[in-house]
Symmetry: C2
Subunit: 343 residues, 2 copies
């Protein structure tokens, strides 16, 4: 019998198909194999991107030359442009504004074929430091209201270049899904004087049935109201509203758990396309001290091809309840440990 579950933050209902549960091999997963070729994110092609805005390098090379370990550049084809003031206008009953914003790319490592599961923890730490650095830099621009960090891995998850990269978009508005979450969290806080995310963490730690893995500072679990098979949420255990405020020890722990979870997903689901997004507080001056909000990273492997209907209706049917997804992801631990030893 299926069941309906309600997200306590967004108020979204999801149908869990508990009758015909899809296993990890029941999906016709698109291939993510990298083909190589001329790549603007590889060493020697630095001139093919706009000039860098961030560069971690150990050598003494000049800017926009090889030798870097992590590199940040503006997107060559940005969805929004950095120049100009905000110009709002009404067109009849419609509202619009010009596309002021920022759209940047963090090139995660020089090797075209390496992704987070292949990198040393110390390197993944550098990637996350780069996220923090660009996040806090863009936060200073008062035209922006919201910063979104996300990764598309694999063509069918929206990646147009195969070299590992993360994107950062600065928006002059708060996107609707963030507004919904903020309102849901504020309502919960108003009623109970507690952060809804902290309450969910407490409940997941108590129930233990949806936890993929954890470390001192972070919890990775398959959410009770997962919309997608093998969806994983990674969240700081302590109350942390602002990603930009992530500490160095937290970066180490976040890098460890990201590598662990992404390795499990790669192992169990045969290197599927995926997306992750970092959801955090809007940059409105209260990002540090907001008592009702909590940043988190959501990872969505792209498995089921049911996109269009869900796009159209906002209504989700999940063929693999999180309690089933988590079992498979937990079992991957042995394989993951073995891989670590073997390398």
């Amino acid at each position: 019998m299926g069941e309906l579950r309600k997200d306590p933050v967004s108020a979204r209902w999801v149908i869990m198909n508990t009758d015909r549960v899809s296993g990890p091999d029941d999906f016709d997963v698109d291939r993510t194999e990298k083909k190589g070729g001329v790549c603007p994110f590889c060493y020697g092609n630095e001139h093919m991107t706009p000039p860098e805005v961030l560069c971690y390098r150990e050598n003494t090379g000049v800017p926009n030359s090889p030798g870097w370990s992590v590199r940040g550049v503006p997107n060559k084809f940005p969805a929004l442009k950095i120049e100009g003031g905000l110009d709002r206008q009404g067109i009849g009953i419609f509202d619009m504004m010009n596309g002021v914003g920022a759209h940047e790319v963090i090139i995660e490592n020089p090797d075209h074929y390496k992704e987070m599961p292949d990198l040393e923890i110390s390197h993944t730490e550098r990637i996350i430091r780069a996220y923090r650095e660009r996040f806090n830099e863009l936060k200073k621009d008062t035209r922006f209201k919201y910063l979104l960090i996300f990764k598309n891995y694999g063509a069918s998850a929206g990646a147009s270049l195969e070299h590992g990269h993360t994107q950062l978009i600065a928006l002059p508005i708060v996107p609707k899904r963030a507004v919904d979450s903020l309102q849901g969290a504020a309502k919960y806080y108003a009623e109970r004087d507690r952060c809804v995310f902290c309450d969910m963490i407490r409940q997941e730690l108590q129930d233990k049935i949806r936890i993929v893995t954890e470390n001192d500072m972070f919890l990775a679990y398959c959410p009770f109201v997962a919309r997608f098979p093998y969806e994983v949420k990674i969240i700081p255990k302590a109350h942390r509203p602002d990603f930009g405020n992530i500490s160095n020890p937290e970066i180490t722990n976040f890098a460890k758990i990201m590598k662990d979870v992404l390795t499990r997903i790669r192992t169990v689901l045969h290197d599927p396309p995926y997306n992750f997004t970092i959801s955090t507080s809007p940059i409105d001056g209260h990002e540090y001290d907001r008592e009702d909000y909590h940043w988190r990273c959501n990872i969505f492997p792209k498995l089921a091809k049911v996109a269009g209907f869900e796009w159209g209706s906002g209504f989700y049917i999940n063929p693999t309840p999180p309690e089933c997804s988590v079992k498979i992801l937990r079992e991957a631990a042995g394989v993951v440990a073995h891989q670590k030893t073997a390398r």
Copy 2:
């Protein structure tokens, strides 16, 4: 320069990429070619589906035997089941209920290879009459709050069987996207005493720049805040809150405009996968007389592979603004007319 546009109903902002506009051939569209094989929706295989709940036939055949023109059956693998009462419960901070509902399939025609663009208008009328009949039948069940009619065409749009069919889901809750639209429309009505959809229709008819086609009773246009390339909205020109109340003359006009629009999409975009959804009032006893709401059909060709990020963030970037999509769809008129003559 890109621009940001706000949906006056849902309050969702969409980035329109007005710089690098994608043309109809810029998408790597998945193939929808039908392969045939044993199909439970073809003549002679009626025993492969659950017993029919609707059947239009001109011959005197017995139920669940060949000779029908449109056939309605329960989904063999329903997301929700019809048996049982509603059982709500809390699990810690989470809310859930058991999966009571209905999940039906309307088999649109007996020919495995024919879709709406290939059918006579009189046949498409029958399909829409079948939607209305099952809609009004399920509406009587007081456990249900919302009825959703939708079609998935092509595997990558979520169709698991290739024989032309539409689905109908009866839900014990109103899905979040419908709640958002209802609230947005109610707010607009409270401020202005006018239906926001009627105002949008007036504006589109006045502006004329986003209209694909129209007839006496329906308007087909590319919405100002389209989330996807070549997204088309078909809406009754008169104020009609309830799809279940569609009149026979409206069915004729709806069938004509559906065939016209789907033929244009097939022609211009090379038979792409698509979804359509019919959004209408919740079935709460006010579906007939609601002054602030309006039913409509949204058609989404599945072209761009950017699903995961949009799923995760609720934030949309549309590479083809509606003013560009509409030009291509309008130009298809000649081709469409020619095809009609040739057949």
